[in-house]
Structures are given as C-alpha cells and as structure tokens.
Symmetry: C2
Subunit: 337 residues, 2 copies
C-alpha cells in the first residue's frame, strides 16, 4: 500500500489520455481492441490496482456491506456470516464484519464506520439498547434487521418464530411426562429473550399446568451464565428433571456444567438444545434452525434493495418482515419419565 499506480501512470507510459485508460480498463467497446489490450498489458505489468474509494466518491456508493453482530463465536452467527459473505462475494460486494459484544458504544462506532465508508447496505443484530445516535444512523441507511427485532427501528426484519421454537421443545418435554422443567434463556431486554420465554410459558398454560418459575433463569446469552445458572439449579433445592436451553451458547454452557457435575444425560436429566452445531454431543434433541435459508433470504433481499435504491430512492417496504420456522430434531438427550 505504498506509491500506488494510477491511471495517470499508465497514461504517461503509453502517451494516451487518462480517460482512454479508464475506458480501456472498463472494456468500453468504443476503444479499439488493440488499445484495450495494450493498456491492460501495461496495467498488469505495472501492477495497477483500482482505487475503490475514488470510484465510490463519484458514485456515492461502495461495494461494502456491513454485518454487525454481537458474537462471532456463536456457531449460529458464524454460519450466518459465512453464508452472507458468500452471497456478497458472488454479487461483487465485500462483507465488513463488526462485532459488538452487545456494547452500545461499540455498536455505534461500528455503524458509524460503515456509514462513513458509504457501505451500500447493513445487516444488523442490534444490541438490547442501541444508542439514539445508532438508531438515527441506521434509519438513514439501507438496513435489514436480523434475528433480533428492535422496536424503535422501522426497518425490515428477518428472523425466526422464536416463540414457536421454544414452545415445541418445551411441549416435547411435557409430553414425555416432565413437569419440573428448567429454562435457561436470554434476558427479556432482548426481543428473542422475550419471545422464547413466552413460548416456554405457553407450553405450560396450554397443557393446563403452572409455569415452574422457580426453574427459570434469565441472563446474558453466554456459556458462562448458563453453566452458573444450571449449577445453582442443580445444587439448590429441588432438582429439575429436564432443561430447555434457549440459546446456542447457553446450550454449550449447560452441557459443560452437566459434564463437570457428572450429570448423566438423559438418565439424570433430559435436555433440549438450541441450534444445530455439529458438536452437540451426544446426539442432542435440539431445536433446528434454518440458518442458511435466513441468510440467503436476508442477503438477497438486501441486494435487491440496494439495486432498487439506485434509481428511485423510494423508501418502501420499511416495515416488511419475514419469519422462518424451526423444527424440533429428536435426539438421544430426552427421555420419558
């Protein structure tokens, strides 16, 4: 990234004008084939690399698409990121990854940086309480919400029917005869946390049962929280006979803690996990999520919006949302009692 070669250099070398060089490299048919080839040869020889910043300055648009997520170590977001990166690459865009760890300041910085780079689009899984500035910035961008849904943000959303997802897992356990069912979930400051807890509760009320609130633990969606919460659940007072882990990293934490405490699954405890990580071991009963489908739909939608926005800046489809369904995948971690 030092003394970069520019169109000017090539032009001087060939005694041609800058515009001719630019057109030749863009394969403008108005330029004679011979010239085009000479230009390309010299460009290659000199190691010319276009300057996308300069290009963006004229068009007002870049080939950048931002993905802002709380946590890349979550298998779920990892899969999403991979799928989106693929889609972007195929469409000639580059994916810029921002990781917030759910910190609103970090989130604001990431969003601002992306807008400064004139990113053509943004995909965001927002933190529980984004700053006013973040919301304002997002509202003026081509943006899509992923998974989590922030009330104050009037932009399209792609996510999962979380309520139904957790409902199905919980109902499965109730059907197997479990009553003392524990719940490890994200705090209800998150839209996903609220929906998932609602699904848990509905499974009980539908079955005419009391919701076992003493077995419900809400916190940060990280393995450490789940491990700690499960330990307290297992150690203090009456034990649950089953647990619903309502999050990918919560499932990891639960399994870690169970292993550490020597809890046999499903002999001592039935477990319903969240997501389809290949390492759920052994053979977990889990709530399967169509991660790839979501990423594809979301990516395609964003690309379409970006292309649309080009001619008419009509801000349509502002409230659009797409909900994907989950499916319960039976495994060996749940048993009848």
């Amino acid at each position: 990234m030092s003394g970069a070669v520019t169109l000017k250099h090539i032009a001087e070398r060939l005694n041609l004008s800058i515009s001719t060089i630019g057109r030749a490299l863009a394969d403008d048919p108005q330029i004679s084939l011979a010239t085009r080839e000479r230009v390309k040869a010299v460009a290659g020889e000199l190691g010319y690399v276009a300057h996308s910043g300069a290009r963006a300055m004229r068009s007002g648009r870049s080939t950048l698409i931002g993905l802002i997520i709380p946590d890349i170590q979550n298998e779920f977001y990892g899969t999403l990121a991979k799928a989106l990166a693929e889609i972007c690459a195929n469409a000639g865009f580059q994916l810029v990854l921002g990781i917030t760890e759910d910190d609103p300041e970090s989130e604001e910085r990431q969003v601002r940086g992306l807008l400064e780079a004139r990113a053509s689009g943004l995909v965001i899984t927002a933190s529980p309480r984004p700053t006013r500035e973040t919301l304002s910035l997002l509202s003026r961008s081509t943006c899509v919400q992923l998974i989590r849904r922030t009330g104050q943000l009037e932009v399209p959303w792609f996510g999962i029917d979380e309520e139904a997802a957790i409902h199905s897992g919980t109902a499965h356990l109730i059907e197997l005869g479990h009553r003392r069912i524990g719940y490890l979930g994200a705090s209800t400051t998150l839209s996903t946390g609220r929906s998932r807890l609602a699904g848990f509760e509905r499974a009980f009320t539908e079955a005419g049962l009391e919701v076992p609130r003493e077995f419900v633990r809400l916190g940060r969606p990280r393995a450490a929280f789940a491990a700690e919460a499960f330990e307290s659940l297992w150690t203090d007072g009456e034990r649950p006979t089953a647990i619903v882990a309502a999050g990918a990293r919560l499932t990891v934490g639960l399994l870690q803690a169970a292993t550490r405490l020597g809890v046999a699954i499903p002999a001592d405890l039935s477990v319903v996990g969240y997501g389809d990580a290949p390492w759920w071991n052994p053979n977990l009963t889990t709530i399967s999520l169509p991660v790839r489908d979501i990423a594809l739909a979301c990516g395609e939608f964003l690309l379409r919006r970006i292309r649309e926005t080009e001619p008419s800046s009509a801000r349509s489809a502002a409230g659009q949302s797409v909900t994907f369904a989950s499916a319960l995948t039976p495994g060996a971690s749940t048993r009848r009692v």
Copy 2:
C-alpha cells in the same frame, strides 16, 4: 444511503467556508470554541457523516484491515477473528472479513478487493496454492501471515509450533502404552499439515517405534473428512486404540463419528483433540493453543507496521516470524492400555 450531507451543506447553512467546517469537526484548536460548537450542533442536526473514501483519497490510507481466512466456522478462526476485530476497533480500524473456503479464485478476489479499498493492512491464512496474482498483490501490501506459512510469500508470520504440538499429543499416547495410534490430519499441501504430520512421526521414531502408516489419513481439514476417515479406520482391518485429531474441525468430525458408531471414549478408544473449543465433550485431552495471544501479537505487530510505513516506507522485517507454543491439556479422553 441517499443524498448525503457534506461539509459544503454545513458551510452554506452557517455562512462559513468548507475548510472552517472541516477544521471545526476535527477539533482544530485554531477554530474558536464558539464556532466549533455551532458547527458540531448543525452537523448533528443535519446528520452529517464523514466520507472515509474521500479522506482516504487524500491520505492514501484507509481505516480498513483485512482478515482473510479459509473458514469462519472453525472455532479457532472464530476466536482469532474476534480478538482481531477487538484490537482493530480499539485502534480505530475496521476489520473486513474475507472467507475463501481455500478456493484460490475466491482468495484472489478478496485480496484484490481489499487492496482496491486501500486497506492499511492484511492478515491472511492463505490457501494451499494461491494464484501468482494473489502472491504478487500480497507482496506489495502490508501483510502478515497467520498460522499457515506459504513458502513463496516473503512476509512475516505468526503461528504455532505445530510439530511440537502434535508431537506432545502423540508422545502422551505412546507413554500410555498405545501403539496402534491413528492420525487424522490436513493434507501436506498445507504447511500446517506437513508440520503436524512430522510431529506425529517424530514421536514414534524418538520412541524407537515404527510409524503406523496404515492408520494415517490425510485430507481436507473438515469434519466430514475426519468422520469418513475414522469410520474406515474403525471398520476396515485392525482397529487403532487411539487417535490424534490434528485439527479443530477434524476433532469435531471424529467425535461425531465415534458417537454415531457407538465407540466409547476412552473405554474403546483414546482421543487427543486439537484446540480448546468449549464444547469438547466430555472433557477432552487436547492440544491447547494460545489463540488469543497469537491474535494480539499479530494485530499489534500489524498496527505497528502500518504506523511505521507511514513516514518511511522501509520494507524491513520482511522475513520475521513468531512461533507460539502449545500445551497438552490432560482430560478424560485418554487412558492407559
């Protein structure tokens, strides 16, 4: 991102010159405090967002740092990406993630895109056989190699002593009395694949034993390969009593296959895994890697280089390399025979 607000708009609104606005927003002390505040107020009101492309065009440098890796679903790279993103954010840079899936064409596109964006630096875990063009592009950039080491690339490298890592795991099994030890590893087209296999072999020769070549399986470093390879190892002919999984995703695949085949660990089979994923379950004997340390060292180094390159474009330290040591973490997946 539509009709963006520029310095000019603010200038017109306040009847000031563009340069005054620019200086005020940059907190230039030469501008009176009163003016600075008025300018900032209007900037906020209008929703001004700086144009990093234009800025980069003048400075020749952007706030982008590229990370090019084969596979984000690998826990190992996920942790690396997270740590690097953090470091970048703290230093005012943004991390641009490129995923190659070890495809040389995709890799070339990613690298080119990053150079076009005038990324200030690049961190790359290169594919087995990068294109000539990729190598040429990289050699003209501020670049650091991560983990894998490509011979044709004369740039600094940060990685692990892979040979020692696998040697320690293998020696551990030999010490426990195992002789029929299987090896699941990446193909030797990768520098890591070569080093790891060498470590496996040295453990045997040092102990005065034959290398059990019939138990060695090399392929793509993905779970699917490991699962398939282990199945053949377990099904055809004499069975190994232990396995070394020489890669993160290979460990995942091995454990999956073992579960599927009903192989009890460590009763039927001892296992040494690679890396410290929190879901190695149960309690794997594993080769622990200082992932975070590597990322930090690599990130700091790159940032230093970027800052240095600014004034003097001396291309020093071209061949520098830093090797990190691993440690064998004993678990419950290996036993004496």
